[in-house]
Amino acid sequence: MSNEKPKTISSISDSNSSSIFYPIISIIGLIFLWWAVVEAFDIPEYVLPGPFATFHEIILDWPELWHGFTSTGQEFVYGFIIGSLVGFVLAVIMANSKLLNKILYPIMIVSQAIPVIAIGAALVIWLGFGLAPKLVIIALIVFFPVLINVLDGLQSVDVDMLNLSKAMGANRWRIFLTVQLPATYVPLFSALKMSATFSVTGAVLAEQTASSQAGLGQYMMAQASRLNTKGTFAAIILFAIMGLLAFSLVSVWERLATPWKQHSKVPFYRQARIAHRDIPSSQVK
């Protein structure tokens, strides 16, 4: 703390370029393991197809799989956005009102305790088989981690900082924008990364309970009912890709939104443009 020499954490940012390398290696390793297990134990294709058989199936049935991927992807993205927004807004409301916090918190817990499948059945009755019930199911899964984490972030703001802002004559809105809102970014992105993967599960669940159209979850169930293991695995692979893709996108966004976590200086577009002056900055010690 009191060491006068500034520490740098360039070593962390230096590793950015290779950060994609290890995940790729581990995915390839996983696929290799899958292949090796199938080969070594001579597992028949209808029990567990190997990676090559599965990828072959993906190529063969590509148009239908792609159609399923996009329509599930659409549900996934909308549900994710709606759930995150709802969670975030609820967190802000609950952080600003002790009364509402006390009233809403148990309801939030209950919303998570009831199995989503059960809610799904009711949603189908209310909302039919369209997009709406699916979005609600995904949003229900997504909003909770966002709510809890953002609430944590808002409540972790130093009381002294709030008092200091008040002493400087700032109004509540200013304090919220300047001091409280940015404090939610780090926990928010932790939640979004979790939610990004949960939403895939949410999408499958949603399609199982409330789908009539062609989604990837629907496709998977159809293949499974025909005992087409290859087709089932083709869908599983695409789900995995969807989850990885979502997670990576959120991670990239996180890096852009929270630069202070990796870097010692602000990004170039925020850096001071210094009109050159005669006084060297190191003159005063």
Partner: protein
């Protein structure tokens, strides 16, 4: 000298317990006052009242002949914690003093940059707080207070968390900035040496109930450097204040 700040018979009672007994203090323009005393002597209560975030039970706070009792936003405030926002650069943090109440102008930006360069933060303008040392962070916090641009500054143990070498260089730094910027400063500290080194006058406070025990004029030449720390007169002041706080030679 003209009167800048008047604490007029201010007192504070919490749940029937007197936290700050009736206190009066008149501070001249450009004066540097330090306040020493053990914990519980009402220093923080007094500061919260002056800054307008706490309503006194009785009495008034007057700045520039204006009654500002219970009105925040009239003084600059700095604490032991630097309270820099981790997502902002040094420059952005310095400007927070402005941006909490209005949109910073180009002049604000230029002033902030030149102050930072002038007072040893020129190399850290774009740094996030986590990449800076404690001393540098406190400088940034102090410049933020200066940029807030009020005549009266309340500094609540700003160097309390620093190691002693860093603290000494920060004290000298503060004296330099104060001499150039000519603000009225109230500085709370636990450290008697720091109190004497910085002050025009030292206010000694005692607890139960919190009140001003004595106000001592420090008649030492300025500008002061660390050589004064061993000066006969300096040591004499120190002894006098220690006696006031701990009682003279009763052990």
């Amino acid at each position: 000298m003209t009167e800048k700040l008047l604490i007029d018979n201010v007192s504070k009672t919490f749940n029937g317990k007197i936290s700050l007994d009736t206190t009066s203090l008149s501070v001249s323009d450009g004066e540097l006052i330090t306040i020493v005393g053990p914990s519980g002597c009402g220093k923080s209560t007094l500061f919260n009242i002056i800054s307008g975030v706490l309503q006194p039970t009785e009495g008034n706070v007057i700045i520039n002949d204006k009654d500002v009792t219970n009105v925040p936003g009239n003084v600059g405030y700095m604490m032991q914690k630097d309270l820099l926002l981790p997502w902002k650069s040094t420059l952005e943090n310095i400007l927070t003093g402005v941006s909490l109440t209005r949109k910073p102008t180009k002049e604000d930006l230029e002033l902030a940059i030149s102050m930072a360069q002038e007072y040893g933060l020129g190399d850290y303008l774009d740094n996030f707080p986590h990449s800076m040392s404690g001393g540098m962070r406190q400088r940034a916090a102090f410049l933020r207070t200066l940029m807030f641009d009020r005549d009266v500054l309340l500094l609540d143990e700003p160097f309390g968390a620093l190691d002693s070498q860093t603290r000494l260089s920060m004290q000298e730094w503060l004296l330099k900035v104060w001499a150039e910027q000519r603000r009225t400063v109230l500085f709370v500290t636990h450290d008697v040496e720091e109190a004497v080194f910085l002050a025009d006058r030292v206010v000694v406070m005692t607890p139960r109930p919190g009140r001003i025990e004595k106000i001592i004029d420090i008649d030492l030449p300025r500008p002061r450097t660390r050589t004064i720390l061993t000066d006969q007169k300096f040591v004499e002041y120190k002894r006098m204040i220690l006696n006031l706080i701990y009682g003279g030679g009763k052990e």
